[in-house]
Structures are given as structure tokens and as C-alpha cells.
């Protein structure tokens, strides 16, 4: 049993890895580049400053790296020259789309271009030489170290150095009116710089392998994940993880309460219905449960909200939110009561569907079990009816609904969107809905990952509890 638990726990890691891979692919293959809206569009470029800020933006979000696998170390010199020619419209007549694509690639390929660019400084074509120098100024820009991680002071120090170098190399280019001498000077600067720094731009086999797998968007993303760094929201520029965590407690309190309530109510209802099978009251309960099961949550929520608040007809509950916003500090007890008052309608709506489902399964489970032989044995031993029902029938009949928990959790997490939107509860569901509308994909990704992770844990617990509850399950 312990072995099985450990095995399952270990299995969650690859499962979670694949979940993150799937989500990552989905979010990146999506049409409409994430962050494009915030970055400045992918049409014709504006001035230098806009280009620069867009480039830095791409760097920050690792959007300049390839998604999954990196083969840029295998670039050929001719390919690089081709890119320069197309991108800067030196030969032929490339279309606007081709030019833009070449420009993008030149920007993105960055470091990998350098060792090919330096020889091109001696190219026959003066136009090529000029654009090579231009491109080198961009390609040799070094990325800043992540100041959020590790030793902040050392990181800042390092970044100051980087900034210095970056500014310096930006000068090493020439405009159209430059003299031969100026050009030669620039070329010499580059060459001497390259002599010092060649090592960083030629790649050993090992470095190539590393780059292939790990110099990618996905790899960077996973390394961020390991440090619980979900990035920064494009909407409010704050670390997403903090935001998600702060929203988590609202959603969890809703989900938890709902699940516990659902199970607490459905088991007695199911048992009661099963014992009184065929009677009028059983039929009535079945009908009520059926109606609860068939009503969409957004309908129930909206109707309850409109009926029972704002005084038309009654004003028993507040019109939403998690708690009343006041500046007076409330005692814990008062706060609790306030929250409870706010949560009655949302929880009622939220619970109705799962309650109905669980009750039906509980009822079916108990009905099936009551016909079993071992119930007859229990009665034959002289046990009283309540003991027979609770100790023998329910114990067996509840096993199937425990497994339902595993399937219920992802659905509950997802269903919270509607409830939170209707009742204005600042939980994860509302957050992901807002983020989707704002195209804040870091936030969306974070919520998806967190909720998937929670669902995974939930399923794991449910499976394990199943083994715990039914001794027939053995794991060899």
C-alpha cells in the first residue's frame, strides 16, 4: 500500500510535466502571438525606440526563443547572409511579409548569428557590410540576469556591467554617410572584440546539445516553474504567482465547503431514498434531484441573485462579493458571519449540481448493495435494521461515490468560473476569465497550471482513499 502511494506520487511528476507541456503548446500555438498586443504589433515597425522596447519585451517573456527545440546553432553562413539580404532589402524584391519574417528571425536568432556575422564584415557588398554591423549591435546585446532570483545585489551588479557593454557596442555601426576610415574603425573594433569573446559564440558539442533542448521557451518556462516564477502579468505588471495565490483562498473555500456539504447531504438522501425505494417520497426526491441536476448553474445563480437580493421580492442576501468592504476592523466572529452571509447563495448554486449527481449515485449504490447476500447474512445474525443499513450497506454502497470525488474535483474547479462571475467573487475562476479577456496569458497559464495541479492531487487522494476503503483492491 505504501509502495503504491509512493509510486503514484512519483507518477504525478511526469503527468504534471505533460500537463504543462500540453498547456504550453496550446498557449503558444494560439493564433495571435501572446503579448503581441502589448508589444507593438507585428506589422511594419515603427521607429528605433519602439523596436527596441519590443525586443526587450520579447526577451523578457522568452518569446524570441524557439518553442520546444533549438537548432539555431546549426545555422550556415550563407543562410545568415540570405537573411540579411532579404531583411534589409538589398537584393531582389522580397515582399513585405518576407522582409518582416527575415527581420524577426535576425532579431530572434541573436547570439547564434554572431560567429557568422563577423566574417561578413569583410563581405564584397558594402551594403551587406553595413547591415552586418547593424545586426551585430543587436545580436551581441546581452540579456540581463533575472534579478528576482538568487543574490539580488550581485545580480544588479552584473546587470550594470552588462548594461555598460551593451551601450558600448551599440556605437559600433555606421550610417550611410560614413567614410571608409570610419567603417574600417568599426570593423576593427568588432574584430578585436570578437577575438576576446570568440569562445562565447562558438559551441562545443555539449553546448549544442544543451542548446537543443534547453535554450527554448519551454525549457525556460520549466526552469521558471521550478522556482515558482510564473512570470509577470501583462495587465498589472505584478508577479502572477502572488496574484494566483491570493485568489486561491477564495476559490478553495468555495470548493471545499461545497464538496463537504454535497457529500454530507447526499449520503443520507441517497440512503433514505434507497430504503424507501418505490414510495411516493422516494419519487418526489428523485424528481427534485433531477431538476437540480438539469438546471444550468448560471441560470440558478442568476435567478437566485435576482430574486433574493436587492429587495425584489426579498433582500435576504447581498448582491455578491465575498465580504462587505468596510474599513472598520471586524472581529473574527463577525467576519465569519459576514462571509457566510455572502456565500450562502453561491454555495447553494455551486453545490446543487454535484449534490444531485452524488445523491443519485449514492442511492443507486445503496439500492444495489441492499440486494446483496451479505446483507441477508447480517440480518440473519440478528442485527438491528439501522446497524445493517449503516454498518453494512452504506459502507459498501459509498465506495463508488468516493471514486466520483476524483472526477468531481476538476469539474468543480472549472465550474467556479460561472459562479464567481455571477456572484462577483474574486477567486481563480473570475481571475482566469478576466485574464482571458485581457489576453494576459501568463496569468491564464498560471491559473491553468495551478488548478490542474490541484486537480491532480485531488485525483490522487481520491484513488488512494478508494484503496483505503475497499480491501479488495490490492496492488501487486
Amino acid at each position: 500500500m505504501l509502495q503504491y502511494t509512493l509510486k503514484r506520487l512519483l507518477l504525478t511528476i511526469p503527468t504534471f510535466f505533460f500537463i504543462s507541456l500540453l498547456l504550453f503548446l496550446v498557449l503558444n500555438i494560439a493564433p495571435g502571438r501572446p503579448g503581441a498586443a502589448a508589444g507593438g504589433g507585428d506589422g511594419e515597425r515603427g521607429n528605433q525606440e519602439q523596436k527596441e522596447s519590443y525586443r526587450i519585451f520579447k526577451e523578457q517573456f522568452n518569446l524570441d526563443k524557439p518553442i520546444l527545440l533549438n537548432t539555431r546553432f546549426a545555422l550556415e553562413q550563407s543562410e545568415v547572409r540570405e537573411l540579411l539580404v532579404t531583411g534589409f532589402n538589398l537584393e531582389g524584391d522580397p515582399s513585405a511579409a518576407q522582409r518582416i519574417e527575415a527581420q524577426d528571425n535576425l532579431e530572434d536568432y541573436g547570439n547564434y548569428l554572431v560567429r557568422h556575422l563577423v566574417p561578413l564584415l569583410d563581405d564584397a557588398d558594402p551594403g551587406v557590410r553595413q547591415v552586418t554591423a547593424d545586426t551585430l549591435t543587436v545580436a551581441t546585446q546581452m540579456r540581463f540576469v533575472n534579478e528576482r532570483r538568487g543574490d539580488v545585489k550581485a545580480a544588479r551588479e552584473k546587470n550594470r556591467g552588462i548594461s555598460k557593454q551593451n551601450t558600448a557596442v551599440k556605437q559600433w555601426r555606421w550610417d550611410d554617410d560614413a567614410t571608409e576610415a570610419q567603417q574600417a574603425e568599426v570593423i576593427a573594433s568588432w574584430k578585436s572584440w570578437y577575438a576576446d569573446n570568440e569562445g562565447a559564440y562558438t559551441y562545443t558539442g555539449k553546448e549544442k546539445t544543451w542548446a537543443f533542448f534547453l535554450d527554448t521557451r519551454f525549457a525556460k518556462y520549466w526552469s521558471n516553474l521550478m522556482h515558482l516564477d510564473f512570470g509577470v502579468s501583462t495587465a498589472d505588471r505584478r508577479p502572477v504567482f502572488e496574484t494566483v495565490l491570493s485568489k486561491l483562498k477564495y476559490s478553495l473555500s468555495l470548493t471545499f465547503t461545497s464538496v463537504i456539504l454535497a457529500y454530507a447531504i447526499s449520503v443520507p438522501i441517497g440512503v433514505f431514498s434507497a430504503i424507501r425505494q418505490g414510495t411516493k417520497i422516494d419519487a418526489a426526491v428523485t424528481v427534485v434531484l433531477f431538476i437540480m441536476y438539469s438546471l444550468p448553474t448560471f441560470f440558478t445563480g442568476t435567478v437566485l441573485l435576482r430574486l433574493l437580493t436587492e429587495g425584489e421580492p426579498v433582500s435576504w442576501f447581498p448582491t455578491g462579493d465575498f465580504q462587505t468592504m468596510t474599513s472598520d476592523p471586524m472581529t473574527t466572529w463577525a467576519l465569519l458571519k459576514d462571509i457566510l452571509w455572502h456565500l450562502v447563495l453561491p454555495i447553494a448554486t455551486y453545490t446543487s449540481v454535484s449534490l444531485a449527481t452524488l445523491s443519485r449515485y449514492a442511492r443507486a449504490g445503496v439500492i444495489e448493495v441492499i440486494r446483496a447476500d451479505y446483507i441477508r447474512t447480517a440480518r440473519a445474525k440478528g442485527l438491528s435494521e439501522p446497524v445493517v443499513i449503516i454498518k453494512h450497506a452504506v459502507r459498501n454502497g459509498m465506495i463508488p461515490i468516493l471514486t466520483l470525488l476524483g472526477g468531481l474535483l476538476p469539474a468543480l474547479v472549472a465550474g467556479s468560473v460561472v459562479i464567481e462571475v455571477v456572484f462577483n467573487i474574486p477567486g481563480m475562476g473570475q481571475y482566469i476569465f478576466q485574464s482571458i479577456n485581457l489576453r494576459d496569458y501568463n496569468a491564464v497559464m498560471a491559473v491553468l497550471l495551478t488548478s490542474s495541479f490541484l486537480a491532480l492531487i485531488g485525483i490522487l487522494i481520491s484513488d488512494l482513499s478508494y484503496a483505503f476503503v475497499d480491501p479488495r483492491i490490492s496492488f501487486d
Binding site: G382, L383, R472
Partner: protein
Amino acid sequence: MALLEVDNLQTHFFTDKGQLPSVDGVSFEIDKGETVGIVGESGCGKSVTAMSILRLIPQPPGRIVGGQIRFKGRDLATMPLNQLRKVRGNEISVIFQEPMTSLNPVYTVGDQIMEAILLHQAVDEDQARQIALDMLDKVGIPEPDTSIDRYPHQMSGGQKQRVMIAMALSCQPDLLIADEPTTALDVTIQAQILELIRELQRTNDMGVMLITHDLGVVAESCDRVVVLYAGRVAETATAIDLFDRPTHPYTAGLLQALPDRAHPGARLFTIDGMVPPPTDFPKGCRFNNRCPRATSECQTVPPLHDLGEGHKVWCHHPLTAEESAALSGEDA
């Protein structure tokens, strides 16, 4: 006064197909220390009879509509439920046909035995456990100390049936009702279980009601026999008398249908027709549509013929002494 006196028991089932008279006037007696076999084909009402004694029939749709079940003088059919519960498992115990499904899969074997003990005896848990261990040992479960904490699915069919017996006898009942206890088991295990029951009966002077469709089991284990057909008793006699002098044509037919070692390869005898379902019982003598001796008289309820020494038969045209002798003479 006999230990158990079943007097004109009627248990009917109320379904959408009508009121089915599954047990319709069955009477017999069981004494201390004696084994009475209830025989008949599938559907004749023997299980229903057995379950009726402790009122274990599913209440809708079944109900005891008539008769008395006198156990040690008290009528079980009308006894209030809370008193009946004190009898169940304590003074009368049942073991069932399907050991595979008769034990609760989520509790250990020991738990289930101890449950009965703790309910009826004034002992604490440790003592109950000791009793359970003793019982497991008595019924022949190997290594009782470890077996007691096993779950039913970890045991074989034969072992489970032994556990059922242990559970049934843990409170030393006066009467054991065994509903086809060996039907679901291998033949070799069958013999062991029957032997076990006999042994335990001897030590406790218990009465045993043995339900079976197997005449071999009857011959081996029973003192007296009750032959049921379509919810009524056809014939009752001592085992020896039944085999020597079958008097009801149905009994005769059953015996004739047994393969005869003296005539290997001979064509097997069958009784014409099939056992009627409770929806379709014939009027009068319920055997009248299959009986080779039926006449128009048989459209009325057959009378009782008391042949002495507890041998009774309900028939219009019972076999004469010569006829039944001829039959039994055949298998010398």
C-alpha cells in the same frame, strides 16, 4: 413438543404478475439433534420455506400470509421484530448457498464472526475474539490466528463456507438452517462440509434443517426428509423409508431419475414436463399435469395418507407397497 414445528406455512409474493403462492401450506417438524432434509427441484419453495422461518424474506414483495412457526413453543411468524432478532443468530442460525457473496467484503472474517458474538453474548471484545478463534479452529480453518484477520476475498469458497458455519454456530444455536450449503462447492469439499456439520451437530445436540436438491446428500446426512413440490409437501418420511418405500409419484419419479449403477448405459428416466412457475400452478394437486397416474380426481386438493412412523403422503393415488418395493428393488 418438537424443537421446531412448521404448521401450514403460507408465504406469498405480491408482484405485478399477481399474488404468487410460493409456499402454500407446508407443515413439518424438527426435533433436537435430528437432521431434516427439505428436498425438491429448483422453484419448489424450499429456500422460501427456510427463509420464512426467520422472516428473512424480502418484505416487499413477500409476506407470510398464514400458518404458524412454533419454535420452542413460541410462534415466530407473529413475534415482534425485536424479539425475533434475539432468536436470529442466537437460537436459530442460517448458512446460505453462496459463500462467495454471503460475507461482507469490506470487513475481516474475524470482525464478522465477532459481530454476532458481541451482539448476543455478554462478553467483551477479547473474549469474543477468543471464541471466534476457537470456532475457526473447530471448523477446520488452518492457522486461525492469522486467518481471523483476513478478508473474505482472500479465501477460497470452501473456506468461506466454513467461516459461515463458524459464524452461525458461534452462539451455540439450537437449530441450524442450512440452505444448500454445498451446492456451490466442489464435490470433495462438499463431503467435508457435510461431515463438519454432522460433527458440530453431535457436540451441540443441534437440530439441522438441510435444504437440498441432491438426493445423495439426503441419503448421507438426513434422518428425516420432507419432499416439496410447487409450494406444497408431497411426502415426508424417514430417510430410509423414503428410499425404500417411495409413495408419492413425484418421489418415485425423483428416485427413478437417479442413474442406476446396476444398469450402466441405460436410458435415463425423466419426469415429463417442467416444474410450473408460481404464476402457473395447476389447480388441485399441483403435480397433476406431469403425473403418470393422474385422473380427473386429481383436480382437487389431495388428501393426507398417514402411513405410520412419521411417513405421510399427500396424494390421490399413492404408490402401493408392491409398486414402491418394485422400484427400490431395482437398485439392489
